[in-house]
Amino acid sequence: MSKFIIAVYVENKFGVLTRVTSMFTRRGFNIDALTVGETESPAYSRITISLSGDGYARDQLINQLRKLFNVRKVEILERGSSIDRELMLIKMKNSKDTRNDIMNAVSIFRGKIIDYSQDALCIEVTGDPEKIDAFIGVMKPIGIIEICRTGIVALERGSGSILNK
């Protein structure tokens, strides 16, 4: 089992995301995360999918995506030649005993405290999913109230665009 990141350009039309996700359900694909958003072109949206599986699952997912009529481009983003980021908001209990530990971790992980109150503080952390996981690992023993992660966005390194590939 390895992790894959797949970038998909789809036509920016009503219901296209449903077509993509409905296909996952029908074909039994298990997706780790999925993000969707606008792109440089108003005609397209970009979906970033992360998936764990073997080569067969990866090939099937790509083939089935390419068959959908509103899908314009499907590319695997290889780990070495692409950059990926995820953003997390995490809400922690705020108490005198733990405040310093939290502040130190936020500084080491280059996070930001974006909300502060008597009994809680909210932190923003950006990075690749492994960094986010590591930060959660540090926070867990202290007492997490709530977590919200965006899922991965990713681009290929260099000057190319996958749409023109």
Partner: protein
């Protein structure tokens, strides 16, 4: 020219060359039917008894003619009744346009009367679908739908049109029919490699499927087999792609394949698979499937390559183009040892023929084979009778076998046979069973209304025979819910619908009645009693391989 949305729908269909549509009207389709009425001299509508029958008719119309099938239905239950028909078409790669009415846009999302999200429901069973939100996109959406339906690997497309769009006015300008989307052209290196593999093989087997029917390469395949001393087998969907009279044709392979065909495939050292998708019913246990063979898989749909089975060489491309290019490169040669082996298989198979006058399915089918012409379409329902027909019916021309393969839809037959008869304009034979026929026999009313030339051969064994066969073999003869115990008088039933009905008790009698039916103006039903323990053989147990093949009923019991 200014037109209503409903008129635009009909005009666009006429523009696309559609001459026959099947359907059922309703509140949200009434405007479409009004526009249809205005153009009744250009486009003929066939009213079914139920939308499912209409969808199967559109499907059968395509299978017999190669022309995209079109079906109309109203919103809500009209649309949901299409679902089985659309799914049947999807699984068998049948191009179809399903056009449904829906409530006006102002009522969408409010659980209005007969409102249903049919584009949502049909998402996984259509190649693509449309909810028309803007009348400006109506004509182009229908054109695009038609193009998608028939391009590449064909499939059904649904277009849902809210009633206010049907009523709105917009400019309509006719357009020429757009060509199919570009077919993929296989790489020459793959073609050359395939030719080399074929020339180096000792026991080549051509395995043909529905993709070969669309390609229309019956003669090319037969000539290729002659040149290379290959034998030909097919999937259920590949029946009638090559003449069954071709001496190298061994018939269907797979779970209920002909013995010689399945055995030859099992022993082949090279399988050239053309327009097939290696369904589980065709392969059995994939780990034990054709273990001695390399496989070349040719298909227009790239996603079929290595989906179900590991192969040596996958070639994505237009089947006709790819096959012809490979054929041009192949040297050919004699393979006497392989031919000798296949002859032995054929002899073993021939020794299992039944007594000639016994009232058994195979003899009924032999009578049909004798009485029909090369142009006769034979449709089936789903179950034992379907497998017997697939094994023993004779076909000399393409598009003459109409049967639900992938979805295995019981109740497919009546609608499909009516649609096929509309396309063929001559008598169609439907082979069905009492189980399947019971599902959609309401379409007998349709066949009577349109005086459809249709001979229904009803194999009545009083049980759901295919499931019963499994229960006999694998469930300790626990006949749970498969003994029908019905008291239906099929002769009276046919007469009540306004058709002719006959019950025969011998092969001689069947022969006579079947012949007589050709002179009848309209549908004829012939009920043939069949023993409830008649088996479909050979059989590969589910998940089994050729090593587990069951060839004798005594062994089975």
């Amino acid at each position: 020219m200014k037109m209503t949305g409903a008129q635009i729908i009909i005009e666009t269909l006429i523009e696309l060359g559609v001459t026959d549509v099947f359907g059922y009207p309703g509140g949200q389709a009434i405007n479409i039917y009004e526009a249809l009425y205005e153009k009744r001299d250009r486009i003929r509508h066939y009213l079914a008894a139920h939308e499912q029958g209409a969808a199967h008719a559109a499907d059968g119309h395509f299978r017999a003619s190669g022309k995209v099938g079109v079906v109309f239905a109203t919103s809500g239950p009209g649309a949901t009744n299409l679902v089985t028909g659309i799914a049947t078409a999807m699984l068998d790669s049948v191009p179809m346009l399903a056009i449904t009415g829906n409530v006006p846009r102002s009522l969408i999302g409010k659980d209005s009367f007969q409102e249903i999200d049919i584009t949502g429901i049909t998402l996984p069973i259509t190649k693509h679908n449309y909810f028309i939100n803007d009348i400006a996109s109506l004509a182009d959406s229908i054109r695009e739908a038609y193009r998608i339906a028939r391009s590449g690997r064909p499939g059904p497309v649904l277009i849902d049109v809210p009633k206010d769009i049907q009523m709105a006015q917009y400019d309509y300008e006719p357009q020429p029919i757009a060509p199919k989307f570009d077919n993929l052209h296989a790489a020459q290196a793959d073609i050359a490699l395939a030719a080399k593999m074929i020339d180096e093989s000792e026991r080549p087997y051509l395995y043909i499927g529905g993709g070969a029917i669309g390609a229309g390469i019956a003669d090319e395949i037969a000539a290729f087999a002659d040149k290379t001393d290959a034998v030909i087998g097919c999937s259920l969907m590949g029946i009638s792609a090559v003449s069954t009279d071709c001496p190298r044709f061994l018939g269907m392979q797979g779970m209920h394949g002909r013995y010689a065909s399945s055995m030859a495939q099992h022993n082949a050292d090279l399988i050239v698979a053309i327009g097939v998708r290696f369904s589980d019913r065709a392969t059995g246990n994939t780990a034990k499937y054709a273990t001695k063979a390399k496989i070349i898989h040719i298909d227009i749909d790239f996603s079929e390559i290595r989906k179900n089975i590991g192969i040596s060489l996958g070639i994505v491309g237009d089947v006709k183009d790819t096959f012809e290019r490979i054929a041009a490169l192949v040297q050919g040669g004699k393979r006497p040892k392989w031919m000798q082996f296949v002859d032995t298989l054929k002899e073993t198979e021939a020794s299992s023929a039944p007594q000639p006058d016994a009232m058994v399915p195979r003899n009924v089918l032999a009578c049909i084979n004798k009485a029909v012409t090369d142009d006769t379409v034979i449709a089936t329902d789903v179950g034992q009778h379907q497998m017997w027909a697939a094994q023993y019916c004779r076909f000399n021309k393409t598009r003459k076998f109409v049967s639900s393969g992938g979805l295995g839809t019981m109740g497919f037959g009546m609608g499909a046979a009516i649609g096929a008869a509309v396309a063929a304009k001559e008598r169609v034979v439907l082979i069905t069973g009492d189980g399947s026929f019971g599902m959609n026999l309401n379409e007998l009313a349709t066949a009577v209304s349109y005086r459809t030339p249709l001979t229904i051969v009803l194999m009545n064994n009083g049980v759901l025979g295919m499931v019963r066969q499994w229960q006999t073999l694998f469930f300790k003869q626990h006949y749970s819910a498969t003994t029908l115990g019905r008291k239906t008088d099929f002769v009276k039933l046919a007469e009540a619908f306004g058709a002719q009905g006959y019950r025969v008790s011998s092969i001689a009698e069947f022969e006579e009645v079947f012949q007589k039916a050709f002179a009848v103006d309209g549908p004829v039903l012939i009920e043939c009693p069949i023993d409830k323990d008649e088996f479909v053989l050979p059989m590969l147990p589910p998940g089994g391989s050729m090593d587990d093949i069951i060839t004798k009923a005594e062994v089975a019991k």
